[in-house]
């Protein structure tokens, strides 16, 4: 039976309003809640559903991050993953480096499907799945809103600018999740207890023989330019007048 490899990124929680440090060297992360990247949580949920339908035998969650990322992996195990691998590093890892690391794990584990979130909500790069598929020389089905498995192929509906697009890919393949693929389950307390006993291996990129040094250099972080606050009108007549004044109607 087949394995599914799921990537989990540790990111600033989606409900935190991120602020740039006054000295422009980064964003404020001290004392801020960290969580599994929401898109990755959706990817994991999909993997678990595939396993529950009997189409996979094992779900492995993988994280590239600091020692604290064990928390996110434990959450993934509590959701239902069978085992976890932490590729421990304190460095910021670019998508191309993450793809190289994942490729090593793919070569070792031979999964039928690699499921990743379409992008991390921190760097918003939207690259890792596509890069892994390229390096692996396998299909990619990005921005998935529906996944149907049929033996050695997957039919994937994708959210594209024009609407929905369906493609068919041979397995193994990389699938990246969009928001509407599913709604992730809540973790129950007994599952958190059970997750503590599940295996969690820690390795380094060096162990895997991958160079994860950065290709790009971040020169500075800035707050975005803010829009000028406008005027409030009290009724439709004033609104129409304001639109006319701006030459918009």
């Amino acid at each position: 039976m087949s394995k599914i490899l799921v990537g989990l990124k540790r990111v600033v929680d989606a409900n935190v309003r991120v602020r740039v440090k006054p000295d422009g060297t980064g964003v404020v992360t001290d004392g801020i809640k960290m969580s599994i990247n929401p898109f990755d949580e959706i990817a994991l949920e999909e993997a678990l559903r595939i396993k529950e339908k009997g189409a996979a035998s094992e779900v492995i969650v993988v994280c590239i991050g600091p020692a604290e990322a064990q928390q996110q992996l434990r959450t993934g195990l509590a959701m239902g993953a069978d085992r976890a691998i932490l590729i421990q590093t304190d460095a910021a890892v670019e998508p191309i480096a993450a793809a190289k690391v994942l490729l090593k794990l793919v070569e070792k584990e031979s999964p039928q499907i690699v499921l990743l979130g379409k992008q991390g909500i921190d760097d918003d790069n939207n690259q890792t799945g596509q890069m892994l598929a390229a390096l692996w020389n396998r299909p990619q089905a990005t921005f998935a809103s529906k996944v149907e498995l049929d033996g050695g192929t997957a039919k994937v509906t994708r959210e594209v600018d024009a609407g929905l697009e369906t493609i068919e890919v041979d397995l193994p393949a990389v699938i990246t999740s969009d928001l509407r693929l599913n709604e992730p389950r809540y973790v129950k307390l007994p599952d958190i207890m059970k997750a503590k006993k599940k295996p969690l291996d820690t390795v380094t990129a060096k162990d895997l023989g991958v160079d994860i040094s950065a290709q790009f250099k971040v020169v500075k972080f800035e707050a975005p330019a803010s829009r000028q606050k406008g005027v409030m009108v009290k009724d439709v007549a004033e609104l129409v007048a304001a639109l006319k004044q701006k030459g918009l109607i």
Binding site: V18, D124, Q130, E168, V219, E222
Partner: protein, 313 residues
């Protein structure tokens, strides 16, 4: 010498305006020589449209029956083969480019700069992170090929009036058969395309139902506008997913954006902050949308909209 290859996006024989915006981004880099590549089964019509864009030197036609649909796995090895002669490869930050360009970058053995909002030099770029809550300036190494996607809302389309040469290019690349197109369902609405419309009317959660969402379509038709929706409205099933405006949907920059019953979550504001004029109608005076609106009106949308429609010329 900076030589930039732009991977064109096109549908049904029509060049997408995202390509012209990539040209503007590329042209902002001093001394750049800009070529556009058209990957298609039959590239002639699209190539002639690309050749009219000012600033383009050459248009490369890469024709192959396999290119009839824009599958990343099929196109990437061909883009990588053409890219050999260039210092930079740009694509639009649309779902087409987001799908394709990282695959190209990995085949070329390099990283990618996503969502360029400004090019300060050939190797220094600004891009948004954290859903637009921060902007980073990043330096790339000139000794590596630079692959990037261009945030289309940050650039105007390059004007027509150019006269680039058109050349057919034949390349040898292994084109995989492991990925196959099945179908695409695009709602034909007859309304202006959301991504390129000069005016957009969007509805949010306050609409309450798919049925009620008709008032948005009605106002949009009166204004000749495209229609958008907040993520909340899409998730609730009031509007189709391809109408979603915001960080995970479409990032747009119309002349006029009318937000109706949209509270203004940061993810939504990211998608509209380049709009020229933002009008907000919401019954909650504390809604964050009013912080960014140029004109705000507090009121019940179901009362305001019919009145507004009547008052419009």
């Amino acid at each position: 010498m900076t030589r930039i290859l732009i991977v064109s996006e096109h549908v049904g024989g029509k060049l997408n305006s995202s390509t012209a915006k990539c040209v503007t981004c590329a042209a902002s880099i001093q001394g750049a020589e800009i070529d556009v590549a058209v990957f298609a089964a039959d590239a002639a019509t699209v190539a002639s449209q690309a050749a009219r864009l000012q600033g383009v030197k050459r248009v490369l036609k890469v024709e192959n029956a396999a290119n009839v649909e824009p599958l990343a796995a099929v196109l990437a090895p061909q883009v990588a083969a053409v890219a050999v002669n260039y210092t930079h490869v740009f694509g639009p930050s649309t779902t087409f480019g987001k799908d394709l360009m990282p695959r190209v970058a990995a085949l070329l053995g390099v990283g990618q700069v996503s969502d360029i909002m400004a090019a300060e030099s050939a190797y220094r770029f600004r891009r948004p992170i954290y859903a637009g809550n921060a902007v980073v300036t990043i330096d790339a190494a000139p000794d590596r090929k630079l692959v990037a996607t261009v945030r289309t809302a940050s650039f105007q389309a390059a004007p027509e009036g150019g006269n680039a040469s058109i050349e057919a290019v034949s390349i040898s690349a292994d084109i995989p058969s492991h990925t196959r197109f099945v179908n695409r369902s695009a709602a034909a609405t007859g309304r202006p395309d959301l991504q390129t419309a000069a005016r957009v009317v969007s509805g949010g959660r306050a609409l309450g139902s798919a049925d009620n969402f008709r008032v948005i379509f009605s106002l949009a038709d009166k204004l000749g506008a495209g229609v958008g929706a907040s993520r909340a409205a899409v998730d609730a099933g009031y509007a189709a997913n391809d109408l979603q405006v915001g960080q995970t949907g479409k990032i747009i920059a119309p002349e006029l954006y009318v937000a109706i019953g949209i509270s203004g979550a940061i993810q939504h504001l990211t998608g509209i902050k380049d709009a020229r004029t933002i009008v907000a109608i919401n019954k909650d005076p504390e809604a964050p949308i009013f912080e960014v609106a140029d004109i705000g009106l507090v009121g019940d949308l179901f009362a305001v909209l019919p009145e507004l429609e009547n008052a419009l010329p």
